[in-house]
Subunit: 395 residues, 2 copies
């Protein structure tokens, strides 16, 4: 029998999707110049040539039976070891291959991390503004997602609210830094304070509380930004990573879960992920892609355009009069709308001027809007006068 | 908090895995000649050169931002259209691109199919002998797996038992043909009878009952075998396919779910799968792999070795005195053990003679054992005297 829950959902497109579809429709009807699409977080720079070469070399030189053969359930041993070594080298950690679980992107990593350290009925806390897919990621495990309201002055953590919302049912906290949609990076002070509070709560409740860190933007951090490696600060931590943004390989679905070697049951969590996969139908990422990233783990695409765009856009918007918390990384910015209803602001902007931006309501942070600036710089330049026109209309 | 359910599972390796690990250990200790491993279904022939060339051409010629970019949630449109066209051409079906959902192998397809047409508490029926991963695949959805005992005379369907086990809670039936572990292909008569019974039960219970067909071995069918395209015979059917065996790409995790265009809500099921992915953390398969299979959809690896091995092994085993139902495809054979306890038979065989075969208990069909003959023919030749020695020991 057709499942009524999923059937009913098919009618309901996400707001980001609606904006994206509107953008495509307008471009088709009025021409590509009629629309400036800032709705989607798709990398705009190519994968490094070294990544392409790594794939080509494997295809040319390796025995195809081995190259394309089943990956062990817990991942290619050489890939796991290479990821551990890279993290240790870069961040002074102590990962071993057994702590690394290759996944189909950060989504795969999160779906395993959440199942490994929660059970149905538990609470998972996250912080607004947050990536809306956290709702199905968390509720799909049977746990409940509780959202701490944003501190809109800095988009760091609202600790007062966090303490109020803490209960003994909390088994995990899910953070995303550098953050989509705010572009903010949690500071060392923020992470230290979060770790101290979680440590205190672990003692108070008598059970471990895991910190799940969603870090696909880790490599996109702007000059002068304090960007701590979060797992250094808290033992019971699971780092969820994706090469989608750093190597511009989002469609290849390659990422990993890294279990903090100091976590409770650290040596058991990757084997648990292997079990979890059997129930969700997840599989190891492509064998070719696991092997191909090995030699380029410490490289990235040329990510400099994102910072150039950030500076250009931030300077222009603040000059115009927008209130914007300065992003420390990613390719997102999350200004305050110059009118209370950011939905109306975005739909008006989209419909009348061809500026496609997403209202903050989608990220549980109304009154703001998200600009995805992983676009050619020229698109930013063309958009600035439109942002100015919009601001004047409301101011 | 660490999830106790998954943690407890990590101690329990599957029996197939235990045999595989034993095999590796013995090879390391006593040398590779000391063990003849027939425990694993890993293709032993390379991917066709045309598949490798397709990957190379894409890497050489396509814009990497597009090539490695996010696939649409419901799959690459050109890949979907090409799969539909191939199925229509080969099997006289009427699929459109919208009926095809690319997945990470057959496992991904099954995990979506099961969630799309069952709800927690429903019953899913399958038939012994069956692939043991069906247990987590089905129970992971919240449904219950009910197993119809094997008809060991033919390994076709035991219809008497099926009728007895049918209840109004049955919302789907899951079949695997060509079958792992028996190597049997369900005949046209079997499929027609199953379809007639399911149609009758749909009317009797007043709700649809879906037929989920797990078909990774569809292309490995031996000469003279009646091998119907199952979805032709029953409208409410979801075909789950993988290129793992036909193109020898198991590690690339590329397959699809094909929704019968005549199914109830046929146009809704692929969008439902897009929703299901959000809850399980599944992602589209690799963008590169989706594109790479397009030009080789009607090709296969050189699969002839599997039939050569099948004939050689079947003739030898029956000559020795084993009772074997002749396989019609796959690279599995499922003889009756010459002793009641196939577990003891296999562990004895494995331990003493270095023959690694898997007891039928793993497939809920005791008294039999599975031979995976996706191995060099020379390995079969070396194994035959050992199978003979074993038989004599018990006979």
């Amino acid at each position: 029998m057709i499942n009524a829950f999923y059937k009913e959902m098919t009618g309901k497109e996400s707001v980001i999707r609606q904006f994206f579809d509107y953008s495509r429709k307008r471009a088709t009807e009025l021409g590509p110049d009629s629309v400036l699409n800032f709705s989607i977080g798709n990398p705009s720079v190519p994968a490094p040539e070294s990544a392409t070469r790594a794939m080509q070399t494997l295809l040319a030189e390796e025995d195809p039976v081995t190259l394309h053969g089943y990956s062990p359930t817990l991942g290619q041993p050489t890939t796991k070891a290479a990821i551990a070594a890279s993290l240790n080298r870069r961040f002074g950690m102590d990962y071993k291959a057994e702590h690394i679980f290759p996944t189909s992107g950060a989504a795969g990593a999160l779906s395993h991390a959440l199942r490994a350290v929660t059970k149905p009925g538990d609470t998972v806390i996250t912080f607004a503004p947050y990536f809306p897919e956290y709702i199905p990621y968390v509720t799909g495990t049977g746990a409940k997602l509780v959202v701490v309201p944003a501190d809109i002055s800095s988009f760091q953590i609202n600790f007062k609210k966090l303490e109020e919302l803490f209960t003994p049912e909390v088994s995990a906290i899910l953070i995303n830094s550098p953050n989509n949609p705010s572009g903010i990076v949690y500071t060392t002070a923020t992470i230290e304070r979060l770790a101290a509070l979680m440590t205190k709560k672990q003692e108070e409740y008598g059970h471990e509380i895991f910190l799940i860190t969603d870090e696909p933007y880790r490599e996109i951090v702007f000059e002068g930004t304090d960007s701590p490696f979060i797992s250094k600060f808290y033992d019971n931590s699971l780092c969820c990573y994706s090469f989608s943004k750093s190597l511009s390989l989002p469609g290849e679905r390659i990422g990993y879960l890294a279990v903090n070697p100091k976590a409770v049951d650290a040596e058991k969590i990757v084997p648990m992920c292997g079990q979890i996969s059997r129930f969700t139908g997840h599989n190891c990422p492509s064998s070719l892609m696991q092997r191909a990233i090995e030699p380029v783990l410490d490289e990235t695409s040329d990510l400099s355009i994102y910072e150039r765009n950030a500076v250009l856009l931030y300077d222009a918007l603040t000059r115009i009069g927008y209130s914007v918390v300065k992003p420390g990384g990613t390719f997102y910015m999350f200004p305050k709308a110059p009118v209370e209803d950011a939905n109306e602001f975005c739909w008006t902007a989209a419909k009348e001027l061809g500026l496609i931006i997403v209202p903050g309501d989608s990220f549980e942070c109304p009154g703001h809007f998200r600009i995805s600036y992983c676009v050619p710089t020229e698109q930013i330049e063309r958009a600035i006068p439109l942002f100015e026109e919009l601001f004047r209309r409301y101011a």
